[in-house]
Symmetry: C3
Subunit: 209 residues, 3 copies
């Protein structure tokens, strides 16, 4: 296999993005080392970390966009398989949470669980609309909207998780912490899986419109 | 890339299954919201959740079967790669558990660990038989049997985990809970990885018989 | 689909390796059952488990090498996609750790965190060097060196995690254990993701040199 295939002109952009991303990793690792070594102004330093993480996300999205633009392929088995798996994962995680309530003998639900469930209900509706849209691909704006909304809802879940954990660690009951932490984290993972579905939506849209 | 490739006649079935699955997600999310909002009759509601989860599984299996039927391909690099990874993951998880016993300075083993280990030993034998069968593909019934048995053993492990955790949370020693929960969960993950292997067996069988 | 494609001569080696690996799984599961049933000489038995795990790793590496040798393909979309994902995962895990410091209101850092961060900084530099090397593929020895070094650093992180957890479980504060265990484990996962990158490096090197 010749090198030509490896560094074809269309691949150059990937190398530029990979190098940018490697630099971003170095920046993040540097900052983490700084945080650990000089453990002051944590909030300020974390704001900086978040900026670096957003830069990383932007590079990742550019790379995926390029990937979808460069390698034009039909609706592929891999894509179908990824959709099958993600849809199943969402259900499994929701089921896991319900199962934990029983196994952990959780005595009452709380505001955070209710917020997560609301977030998952909305995500379910967006998934339904997006999948229906994929069938005809006539109204790509709607699918794009679902994709954006699923991403937004995943961020909402992240934020619920932060608040839920902050609050949870005010408890002095470690067993309670173990149980609820597990439940909150699985609720958040369910929305991560919804975001996987949104990524498949985006990939299909980029290639077919 | 034209739309024809996207919604080719053979793809229609996937869209039907995806739509069914999106509806299943909505049902599961709805029920979770109901559980959180009206936290009564948990056992009854969980039975309903489990039914929804089984419906989801059935749709997932139908989708994979269709996928394997529609895209007929030889024994592929991806399949080999998936088998390599899953086999390695089983070993890694078993090793992790043994390592945890040391790091956590676990003083004694228990019935659940012994049950998990028995389950993993049986899974190991099924994997061995299945792989030997794949070589000639003469006795597909045997491979099918291994696949079914690996799935069954994964369900057995799920059930051991439920009992083990129920029992564990009767403990009042949170550190004990943290350690054993980690060990039990890794034992269960090891059987999940065995089930991944069984899924590769099924995929090969569907396409080659 | 004929059987010829399945058991082509070049596939034989995979079946031999898969059978060896299935046997390794059985050995590991047997030993785990023995450990649980006769809970004595744990250190000695764990040394044996580690040997089995190393045998498994060696088989896995041989299988991947064969896979890369047998199916010669150019720098593929899947490979690019895997690189994009792993690079992003490293950043996300570093960000998660920084976020946990805030959410868990961790009052001070420790030696282990500083060691992990040093390990991640070095990994970041190796990734940068490796990616730059991939662009021209002129100095394959350097890329090979990065790949080896990233593997080594992942082992270093494993070892830091063992020491950190051993030490942590001397604490009598379960909430402290929950928080720091989560942080240490995410630091270790970040280096696992660096190793994924090193695996992509190796795959490309085997095929292009």
């Amino acid at each position: 296999m010749g090198l030509k295939n490896l560094i074809a002109p269309q691949d150059k952009i990937f190398f530029e993005l990979f190098e940018e991303q490697a630099t971003t990793i170095c920046k993040a690792a540097d900052l983490l080392a700084t945080i650990f070594a000089d453990y002051t102004d944590l909030e300020e330093k974390y704001r900086h970390m978040k900026e670096i993480e957003h830069q990383g996300d932007a590079i990742t999205h550019r790379a995926y966009d390029e990937l979808n633009r460069t390698f034009i392929t039909p609706f592929e088995p891999e894509e179908i398989s990824r959709l099958v798996t993600s849809l199943d994962d969402v259900i499994d995680n929701i089921d896991d949470v319900a199962h934990m309530l029983l196994v952990y003998e959780v005595k009452k639900t709380d505001e955070y669980m209710i917020e997560f469930a609301k977030c998952l209900k909305q995500s379910g509706e967006e998934i339904k609309t997006g999948i229906e849209g994929l069938r005809t691909l006539k109204d790509t704006e709607t699918i794009k909207g679902c994709s954006i909304e699923l991403n937004r809802l995943e961020n909402v879940a992240d934020e619920i998780l932060s608040r839920a954990l902050s609050d949870l660690f005010k408890s002095t009951d470690p067993v309670e912490i173990i149980k609820l932490k597990d439940i909150y984290e699985h609720l958040e993972i369910a929305t991560d899986k919804c975001e996987d579905i949104s990524n498949v939506f985006s990939a299909i849209l980029i290639r077919h419109t």
